[in-house]
C-alpha cells in the first residue's frame, strides 16, 4: 500500500479498529489537492524558468555576437598595427634587434641586415646573440670571441642596466650599439652606423680649432698649444711667441677686393708654414694677424733668426690671379718666461712688440720690452678717442690761402684738417692721420673733409678754389668718385673750384684703377694737383702718365732758395717744364717777402706759406678773402 495512504488509513482508524471513512476521504482529497497545487506550481515555475533562460540565452547570443564583432575589429586593428609597426621598424635609420626573456631573437629589421651586410636568409627569429655574432664573424663585421661577448651581454641585460658601446668594424666603419632591457624581460638593441656623423664631428672639431681660410690653427687652438708649451717652460727652457701682421693689408684688401685679400692671406699662411721648423705652431689669429709659437727656444738669437727668415719669406711678390702683390710683415716677439708665463699675457706683449715694429718702419721685428707697454697704451688711447671723434664732431677745418702773385689775388685755399681733442690742444694731422689710416678711419674722415670743404668754399667770393688733400687709401677706394660728386652736389660747388691734392706715394701705388679714378675726376672738371713735388722717389714719369693740372713744389726747395744755386735751378726747371706741359705751379713754404719775390721771378704761378697766410679758421679766411686784395694793394 502507498505509504501516505497507509498513514491516512492509520490516522482515520478509530481505537475500535473502525475506519472513519469521512476523515479518510478528507485526507485523501487534501492530498490530491496538494499534489495538483504542486504540479501547477511546478508547471508554472518551469514555464517561467524556460522563458527566463531563453531570454538570458538570447542576451548571451547577442553578447557573443557583439564580442565577436569587437574581436574582429580588434584583430583588424592589430593587423593594421602590426603593419604600421613593421613599417616603422623597417624604416628606422637604426638597425633593431629585440630579444625575448630567454635571450632569443624575436624581431629584427632590414636596417640591421644592411648595417652588417648580412643576407636576410641568415638571420631568423630564435637565434641567440652568439648565433648572430657567428654570422657576423663569417662576413667579417665582427672581430672577437662570440662566446665571451654573448655571455657579457646576457649578464648585463639580466642586471637591468642600459649598455652603450661603439663597435669599430674591421672595414673602418663605426657602429653605435645601445642595449636596453625591457620591463617584460628581454631587451632591445639599436645599431646605428655613425661613421659619417663621427667624421662630421671630427670636421666640426677641426673647424672649431682651425681657420677656415688658411686651415691654420685658430686663436683658440693657438692658446691651447701655448698653454701646453708653457707647462714645460720654467725648468730652464724658453719659448718665443711671434705676433705678426701684414703691412698695408687693409689697403690691399680695399683696392684689390676681399677675394684677392683672402688669396694673399692663404699665400702668407703657406709661406709661414714653409719656413717654420717642424715643432713650430703657425696660427692665424684674425684678419691679417698671424702668430707663431717657437717652443724649446735655445738662444734668443734663434728667435731673431726665424723672424728674419719670416720677413724674407713674405717679401717676394705673391702672384694672385695675375696680380703681383707685394706685402711685408712686421713681427712682435715675446719670450717666456722672461716676458710672461701666461698665454694671454705673452700674446698681449708680443702684440705690443708688433706695434713697435710697425712704428719702426715695417717689414721688421721687435722684441717686447717692458717700457713698450706705456707708449702703446698711449697710442691705443689715441685710437679709441679717434674712433669717437668723428661721431662727436671734433674735427675742424682750417684753410691756408694760396696767392697768385702776378694778380695779387687769393686764388685758392688749402683745407687742412685739425682734431679739436677734448683734453688737448688742437691736434695736427701728423699725429693722427697715420693712425686713422691703420684703423680704417681715413675713409670716413676724408669724406667728411671733402664735404665740409666743398660746403665752406661754396660761400667764398671771386670763384676762389678750395684744395683738399687725398690719402693714398682714399684714392684707391672705389667710392671716391661718387663721394666727390655727392660733396659737390650737396654744396652746390662747381667742380672747377675743387682741387684734389695727391702725393707721389699715390702714384707709387700706381695701378690702372688709380689712374682711371684720377681721369674720371678730371672729366668732372675737378683739378688734380701733385703735392710735395720733388721729395719722393719722384720721377718725371708720373707727369707723363697723368696730366696733372698743378705741381706743388715742396717747401724744402723754397727754403733753400737763398742759400743754394741748386734749388734755384731746380725750381726754375720745374716751372719751365710745367709751363711747357700746360701745368701751373705753386711754391710751398713761402715765409718771407723775399721768397715771394723770388718764386715770382722764377715763374711760379702761385705761392703758399706763412708769409701769405697761416692755416686759419673759416671766419678768418672769409675776412681775408674779403680784405686781401685791398690790403695787398695798399702794402704794395
Amino acid at each position: 500500500m502507498n505509504r501516505l495512504f497507509a498513514r491516512q488509513v492509520a490516522a482515520a482508524t478509530k481505537p475500535s479498529g473502525e475506519v472513519d471513512l469521512d476523515a479518510l476521504g478528507k485526507q485523501v482529497v487534501a492530498a490530491y489537492e496538494e499534489a495538483a497545487r504542486d504540479r501547477r506550481r511546478t508547471d508554472r515555475s518551469i514555464g517561467l524558468m524556460v522563458d527566463e533562460l531563453d531570454q538570458l540565452n538570447r542576451g548571451l547570443e547577442r553578447l557573443v555576437e557583439e564580442r565577436t564583432a569587437a574581436l574582429r575589429d580588434r584583430e583588424a586593428e592589430l593587423r593594421a598595427q602590426n603593419l604600421r609597426f613593421d613599417a616603422a621598424i623597417n624604416n628606422m635609420s637604426q638597425g633593431l634587434l629585440m630579444f625575448d626573456a630567454q635571450g632569443r631573437l624575436a624581431i629584427h629589421n632590414r636596417r640591421y641586415l644592411e648595417v652588417y651586410r648580412l643576407p636576410p636568409e641568415k638571420i631568423k627569429p630564435g637565434m641567440t646573440v652568439e648565433d648572430l655574432i657567428r654570422c657576423r664573424i663569417e662576413n667579417g663585421t665582427f672581430a672577437g670571441d662570440p662566446v665571451e661577448y654573448s655571455k657579457k651581454i646576457n649578464v648585463l641585460m639580466a642586471s637591468g642596466a642600459t649598455y652603450n658601446r661603439l663597435h669599430e668594424l674591421p672595414d673602418g666603419r663605426t657602429v653605435s650599439v645601445v642595449s636596453q632591457p625591457m620591463a617584460s624581460g628581454g631587451w632591445v638593441v639599436t645599431h646605428e652606423d655613425i661613421t659619417e656623423r663621427r667624421s662630421a664631428e671630427k670636421k666640426i672639431a677641426h673647424m672649431a680649432h682651425h681657420d677656415a681660410l688658411t686651415d691654420l690653427p685658430n686663436r683658440a687652438l693657438l692658446r691651447e698649444r701655448l698653454a701646453e708649451a708653457l707647462a714645460h717652460v720654467g725648468t730652464g727652457a724658453r719659448l718665443a711667441v711671434f705676433y705678426l701682421d701684414l703691412d698695408n693689408f687693409k689697403g690691399i684688401n680695399d683696392t684689390l677686393g676681399h677675394q684677392l685679400g683672402d688669396e694673399l692671406l692663404k699665400c702668407v699662411g703657406d709661406r709661414l708654414l714653409a719656413c717654420a721648423p717642424a715643432n713650430v705652431t703657425v696660427a692665424r689669429v684674425g684678419g691679417d694677424e698671424f702668430a707663431i709659437i717657437l717652443p724649446e727656444l735655445g738662444a734668443i738669437n734663434d728667435a731673431a733668426i726665424l723672424a728674419n727668415q719670416v720677413c724674407e719669406a713674405i717679401r717676394p711678390p705673391c702672384d694672385l690671379c695675375g696680380h703681383a702683390v707685394i706685402t711685408d710683415t712686421s713681427i712682435g716677439i715675446a719670450i717666456a718666461p722672461d716676458d710672461g708665463t701666461d698665454p694671454d699675457e705673452l700674446m698681449k706683449n708680443a702684440d705690443m712688440a708688433l706695434y713697435r715694429a710697425k712704428a719702426a718702419g715695417r717689414g721688421t721685428f721687435r722684441f717686447f720690452e717692458p717700457e713698450m707697454d706705456a707708449s702703446i697704451k698711449a697710442r691705443r688711447a689715441i685710437e679709441s678717442s679717434l674712433r669717437a671723434a668723428l661721431a662727436r664732431g671734433e674735427f675742424v677745418l682750417q684753410y691756408q690761402p694760396i696767392l697768385n702773385p702776378r694778380e695779387n689775388r687769393i686764388t685758392c685755399c688749402e683745407a687742412l684738417v685739425r682734431w679739436q681733442h677734448p683734453e688737448r690742444r688742437l691736434v695736427g694731422p701728423a699725429e693722427f692721420i697715420s693712425v686713422a689710416e691703420e684703423i680704417g678711419l681715413i675713409i670716413p674722415i676724408g669724406d667728411w673733409v671733402l664735404r665740409r670743404a666743398c660746403a665752406d668754399a661754396a660761400g667764398w667770393p671771386n670763384d676762389t678754389k678750395v684744395a683738399v688733400n687725398l690719402s693714398a687709401i682714399q684714392v684707391m677706394n672705389a667710392n671716391l668718385v661718387p663721394v666727390v660728386i655727392s660733396a659737390l652736389a650737396a654744396a652746390g660747388l662747381p667742380a672747377e673750384r675743387l682741387e684734389l691734392e695727391i702725393t707721389e706715394s699715390v702714384m707709387m701705388q700706381n695701378t690702372e684703377a688709380t689712374l682711371a679714378t684720377l681721369h674720371r675726376l678730371r672729366e668732372l672738371g675737378v683739378k688734380i694737383s701733385l703735392d710735395d713735388f720733388g721729395t719722393g722717389f719722384s720721377s718725371l714719369g708720373y707727369l707723363r702718365r697723368f696730366p696733372f693740372d698743378k705741381l706743388k713744389i715742396d717747401r724744402s726747395f723754397i727754403r733753400d732758395l737763398s742759400s743754394g744755386e741748386d734749388s734755384l735751378a731746380i725750381v726754375r726747371a720745374v716751372t719751365t717744364m710745367a709751363e711747357s706741359l700746360g701745368m701751373i705751379t705753386t711754391a710751398e713754404g713761402v715765409e718771407t717777402e723775399e721768397q715771394l719775390a723770388q718764386v715770382s721771378r722764377l715763374g711760379c704761378s702761385e705761392a703758399q706759406g706763412f708769409f701769405i697766410g697761416r692755416p686759419q679758421p673759416l671766419e678768418e679766411i672769409l675776412r681775408l678773402l674779403r680784405d686781401y686784395a685791398p690790403r695787398r694793394a695798399k702794402s704794395a
Binding site: L4, Q8, A30, R40, S45
Partner: protein, 384 residues
C-alpha cells in the same frame, strides 16, 4: 542519561514523563502558539518537573518520532548522569538587538568545559544570522551551536520562546551543556534543487532584500507564485533562495527563507542577512529529495553518538518544507528517524530558521529550508 517523552493534547492533557519527573535536568518542549500562549502549559510542566530547566518554543508543527502534528505540545525530559546544564535568556525587542542578545547569552554560558549550546529564539523579530554571530563570538570557536527560530504555523504573526518561564515573544533562550561526558552531534541538509538563472543581489539592507538583478525581489516571487501569491509571505517558502558569496562560494553557501513581505516597498524580509553582491538562485522542492536531505542531516548527527543508546535527537525542520510537502512531511521525519538507534527519542518542530554549523566551513550559522538535527547523548558512566 535517561530520556522520557511526554505530550499534551487539548482535552487529553499530559501523557507520559512520570518516570524521570523528579530526576529530570531539562524538559524540552515544542507546541502550537495556541496551546502555549496562555502560560498554563508552563505551569503544568513546572509542577511536574520542579527541578528541571523548562525550555521550549512555539512552532509550525511538532515532530514526535515519525509523526508530524498540529494542535499539541510535545516534550522530552532529560536526566544527565555526568553533564551540567545552564540556561540563559535575553530579550530581543527587534532585529537590531539580535547580535547583542546573542552576545549576552553567550557571555553567560561561556565556560572552558562548555560542550554545546542549543538555542531557541523568537522567529519573527530576530535576525538569526546576527544572533548566532553574537553567540558564537561570545562562546568561542569549537563550541557547537544548534537550535532554531520559533514558528507560528503559516500565520507569521507571533512566536514564543520560554526558558524557565512562561513562553513569550521577543525572547531568546539557550541551554549550555558542560563537561566531557556529553556528546552532541549535529547535521544539516536541504535537499532543494536550484532552478532558473542565477541572480545578483543588487540592493539589500541587512536581512531586507530589495532587488535582484535590478528588479524588485517581490515582483519576481509574485510572478513565480502566480495564484499562490495571495498566500505571501508563507507561500514564498515554496521557493527558497540559495545565496552564496561569489568570492568563496563553497564556504558561504546558504539557503534563505522569507519571514515577511512589504508590498509597498516591494521588499522581502528574510530570516538572515542578504548581502549585496552575493549571487542567488531560486530553489524548488521535490518530496523525495527533501526526504533524502533530512536523512542526510540525521546521518551527519548520529555519526557522533553512535556509541551510546539512550539520547535525544532534536529535529528542527523548516516550515517551508512542511508547506510544500503537506501530508508528505511525515516522509522526511520518518527518513531522518531511520538514521538513529531506535532507543533515541526523536522530537522537534517546524521552524522559521535553523541553527547549525555550516557543513563545510564549520562556522555556526542560521540556515533556512533545511532539516537540522542535533543528537545529544552522554558517555556511559554513573551519575555522580
Amino acid at each position: 542519561m535517561r530520556v522520557e517523552q511526554l505530550s499534551w493534547r487539548q482535552g487529553a492533557g499530559w501523557r507520559g514523563g512520570r518516570n524521570v519527573a523528579d530526576k529530570a535536568d531539562l524538559l524540552l518542549y515544542f507546541g502550537t502558539r495556541a496551546a502555549l500562549a496562555c502560560g498554563a502549559r508552563y505551569g503544568e510542566m513546572r509542577a511536574m518537573f520542579p527541578g528541571a530547566h523548562i525550555f521550549g518554543c512555539s512552532t509550525g508543527g511538532q515532530i514526535r518520532n515519525n509523526d508530524v502534528t498540529d494542535d499539541d505540545v510535545v516534550a522530552v525530559a532529560l536526566s544527565f548522569a555526568r553533564t551540567r546544564l545552564k540556561l540563559a535568556c535575553a530579550p530581543a525587542a527587534d532585529a537590531t538587538q539580535s547580535r547583542a542578545a546573542g552576545e549576552t547569552i553567550g557571555r553567560e554560558l561561556a565556560a572552558d568545559d562548555l560542550a554545546g549550546v542549543f538555542v531557541l529564539s523568537d522567529g519573527l523579530n530576530v535576525n538569526g544570522s546576527a544572533l548566532v554571530a553574537g553567540l558564537a563570538a561570545a562562546v568561542g570557536d569549537g563550541v557547537s551551536i544548534t537550535g532554531g527560530l520559533a514558528g507560528d504555523g503559516a500565520q507569521f504573526e507571533e512566536t514564543l520562546v520560554g526558558g524557565d518561564c512562561a513562553p513569550s515573544k521577543h525572547n531568546v533562550a539557550a541551554v549550555g551543556f558542560y563537561g566531557s561526558a556529553v556528546r552532541i552531534g549535529h547535521g544539516s541538509a536541504g535537499g532543494w534543487d536550484e532552478f532558473g538563472p542565477r541572480r545578483r543581489i543588487t540592493r539589500s539592507q541587512g536581512n531586507v532584500l530589495y532587488e535582484l538583478d535590478g528588479e524588485p525581489a517581490l515582483d519576481l516571487y509574485k510572478r513565480y507564485l502566480g495564484e499562490e501569491a495571495d498566500g505571501l509571505p508563507g507561500t514564498a517558502l515554496l521557493f527558497p533562495l540559495r545565496i552564496r558569496d561569489p568570492r568563496c562560494p563553497d564556504e558561504s553557501d546558504l539557503v534563505r527563507t522569507v519571514l515577511a513581505v512589504d508590498h509597498d516597498a516591494r521588499s522581502m524580509t528574510f530570516a538572515g542577512d542578504m548581502p549585496e553582491g552575493w549571487v542567488s538562485q531560486l530553489m524548488r522542492g521535490n518530496f523525495d529529495r527533501l526526504a533524502a536531505g533530512a536523512a542526510d542531516a540525521a546521518r551527519q548527527a548520529s555519526g557522533g553518538t553512535r556509541e551510546s543508546g539512550d539520547g535525544v535527537a532534536i529535529l528542527v525542520s523548516c516550515i517551508g518544507r512542511r508547506l510544500l510537502m503537506g501530508q508528505h512531511a511525515m516522509d522526511e521525519v520518518a527518513a531522518a528517524g531511520g538514521e538513529f538507534d531506535p532507543r533515541m527519542a526523536r522530537l522537534g518542530f517546524y521552524s522559521y530558521g535553523e541553527i547549525s554549523p555550516h557543513n563545510r566551513s564549520g562556522v555556526c550559522q542560521l540556515h533556512n529550508q533545511t532539516m537540522t538535527v542535533t543528537a545529544i547523548t552522554e558517555a556511559a558512566g554513573s551519575r555522580p
